[in-house]
Subunit: 453 residues, 2 copies
């Protein structure tokens, strides 16, 4: 298969169907490129001589310079002609944003087959059609055609996302931006006439900017190739996946031939397992997984230590750990005795350790230091009500986590004050979850059975 890496670092981009009209999809894309992309931009549209101070070309063939990527945003019945031009202009690849293909009718399906033929016969790599395309925080390529007022763009980070669904890609992108979680690249490949999730996983396996890959799948085309690509990727970095359309009854209509379909979903589960892919079950989990793998490393075992200043939250976390099959670390008796000397008498020493509302920043440090020695991962459930807690708490927890080289997850439910502190924690690489269940799910993700003897 021909390389696709040029999509993520193109030296030049042609925008086929570029428009000066504000609000038009192609104008949104052009503006995004002008804002963030540093390479050459060539608008193409026979109607204009220039757009937004860029020279506009009649057709791709007129550009006379090397084109790495052509972004195609023209009506569906003009796409094939546009791709022919792009091939003649010797572009390496095209992102076909235009819709109106196999998702619409049989005429559209025929056109899509023709697009596929261009990819196979002319060697043009094609993302799409009917897709949002690519958002790349490093190169500045951005074909997501929703204006920034309606859709924020995340900053730079180590997370890359492959999504078959455009709406899912949009939602998660917007949420990640709001949450301050950075990304490397997000790709929505739509109808998958050519570039598939397997191509992308192969690319991400070797992509140094990508530290973790998250995949949203409705249906995989070539199961065997997918497993190979996903395995190659998961050998190098965490790969998480969500599968939707589990029940055809749900996906298509209210008819129930669930039995057969549930079986098919079982095949996906088996494939994920074989490929070392961590399956998550919903949007929440997917977001949690993106958060935790963006900030933390795998644990070396499944023993959890819980420390809190709120007894009830500690109990909830302990419950959730047991439900999720994690183990609560046992502290040796002499450690407990020692802790009870160092900590105020009203503290409840054990696992969970409850430091109560009189807690100080240093109490947390003392308790975590001892508890983390006898565990593989810690969950710190810090409620910010206690008056003596300050921002130093963040530093203290980070210090212990780094010194002992073990992951720590923060559970910090609450309102605006807690949200401010969440930013502090996450800026220092400690992922914050708002609920006991979320924190425990995240801990579970960091416990990678492959890596535990």
């Amino acid at each position: 298969m021909k390389d696709i890496s040029f999509f993520f670092n193109p030296k030049s981009i042609a925008v086929i169907g570029a428009s000066p009209t504000s609000g038009k999809l192609s104008n949104v894309v052009l503006k995004s490129l002008k804002e963030g992309y540093k390479g050459e931009i060539y608008p193409v549209n026979p109607k204009y001589d220039s757009i937004d101070e860029l020279k506009c070309y009649q057709r791709a063939g007129d550009i006379k310079k090397a084109i790495d990527v052509a972004i195609v945003i023209v009506p569906s019945n003009a796409v094939l002609q546009a791709l022919d031009d792009v091939v003649n202009a010797k572009a390496k690849g095209a992102i076909v944003v235009s819709a109106g293909f196999k998702e619409t009718d049989s005429k559209g399906a025929d056109m899509e087959k023709a697009i596929q033929d261009i990819a196979v016969n002319k060697g043009l790599r094609i993302i799409g059609p009917n897709c949002m395309g690519l958002y790349d925080s490093f190169s500045g390529v951005d074909t997501f055609f929703i204006p920034r007022e309606r859709l924020e763009r995340p900053g730079k980070g180590g997370l890359s996302i492959v999504s078959q669904s455009g709406s899912f890609a949009l939602s998660i992108m917007d949420t990640l931006a709001m949450e301050g979680i950075g990304v490397a690249r997000i790709v929505n490949y739509g109808n998958r006439a050519d570039v598939s999730e397997s191509d992308l996983l192969e690319f991400f396996a070797d992509d140094e900017d990508t530290k973790v890959v998250a995949v949203y799948i409705e249906a995989v085309e070539d199961g065997r190739r997918f497993v190979d690509a996903a395995k190659r990727c998961s050998d190098k970095k965490p790969v998480i996946a969500i599968k939707v359309g589990k029940y055809e009854a749900g996906a298509k209509a209210a008819k129930s031939h669930t039995g057969a379909i549930a079986g098919r979903y079982e095949i996906y589960r088996a494939a994920f397992k074989k490929a070392g892919v961590r399956e998550v079950s919903g949007y929440d989990d997917f977001l949690d997984a993106c958060r935790v793998f963006s900030m933390q490393r795998y644990a070396n075992g499944k023993k959890v230590f819980i420390v809190t200043d709120g007894g009830g939250i500690g109990v909830s976390i302990a419950d959730s750990c047991i439900s999720a099959g994690l183990r609560l670390a046992e502290l040796p008796e002499d450690t407990k005795t020692n802790l009870s000397k160092k900590l105020p008498s009203f503290c409840s020493i054990g696992n969970p350790t409850d430091l109560t509302g009189s807690v100080t920043d240093d109490d947390y440090k003392i308790a975590l230091d001892s508890g983390l020695k006898y565990s593989d991962i810690a969950i710190v459930a810090a409620l910010w009500g206690p008056p003596q807690l300050t921002d130093k708490l963040v530093y203290n927890i980070k210090e212990v986590s780094e010194r002992l080289n073990k992951p720590v997850i923060i559970c910090s439910a609450g309102g605006r004050y807690a949200m401010e502190k969440k930013k502090l924690f996450e800026a220092s690489g400690l992922p914050v979850f708002l609920t006991p269940e979320g924190a425990v799910r995240a801990a579970g993700l960091l416990i990678n059975s492959k890596m535990i003897k």
Copy 2:
């Protein structure tokens, strides 16, 4: 049992252990009362003649006017003396915020027994000890001793919360405030020397300000009385509950006698079922339940209609509905034909109906109007990317929901733009959930098996 309603509408409050020192718990409480409570406030502390421009009394007996509620915030070894004074002053009840009782040591347990004796023998109703006490948005009673900078207070609403855990009460209160969900009363009764969850459920059953009751339970004292009280309450309004400390192994230590304890948890589940209480399983679910019951009514059946402008999100919701045992409504063929005439050709008509990124406010109205006729509840998954969507969408959905008198739930994942629109939806009584799973859980809560033939 003697009435406890005076706690929620006291004509006068004595603050035993009042202090002028900013940051002290009793000072936080005094400030809160001065800010929000309209009745008489009597600070009591032998050290001062006045505090914050209020006359300060040497002891409760010196007040010489009727005292409804005494808030006791003194060191634990001074609590019994304070309660004796309060009894002599003929107060109706006390909220003992002070800690240091059975949760601490055997001396504390003895003192707590003595507190209990006062309640039994002298007829003083007592909330606490070791509790946050009461936050009442209607009367302005607020013994939650965390300053408002660290803990926001929710506005007025129909939700009342009973929580055995102080930290849970704090977290949920802070989150509700941030989310703009109002409450009637929140009670954290701590060690439960006297007033219990059963007393509170009995009160809330008849409390007209309370439209829905949410209960956080670690362990119930008198199971039979709890079931009776909860049933009386759930006959009149929705009662939701979360049980934590499901596994003693989790709650107490890493020892495993899970088998026996799981059995005990089964008893709670059976009790909830018998009492008509909807059990929720985690903090997320608890919050979702608070949100949905604050804004919506029960559905009359379990047929769900899904309409969206993002195909992938629609599929996820359909998946979740099937997983959760809800039914997808089937639209009659002539309705589908009719809809396909009224809606643009690229829409996918069915259940889910996908209006795609070219959707308008009125497309949503047309689709929802038809779909809700053949279903009991609708989930509208509105992504705000589509450029033609405006605030009128909120009005359109509300109008259909009210006219057809059926509940509608919004699923609106995304970032800042979506969060702004969430406020609009919720201000008009349409609860918004950020994930497909959250929206479906909420729909499930509104489907009350008791009320469905």
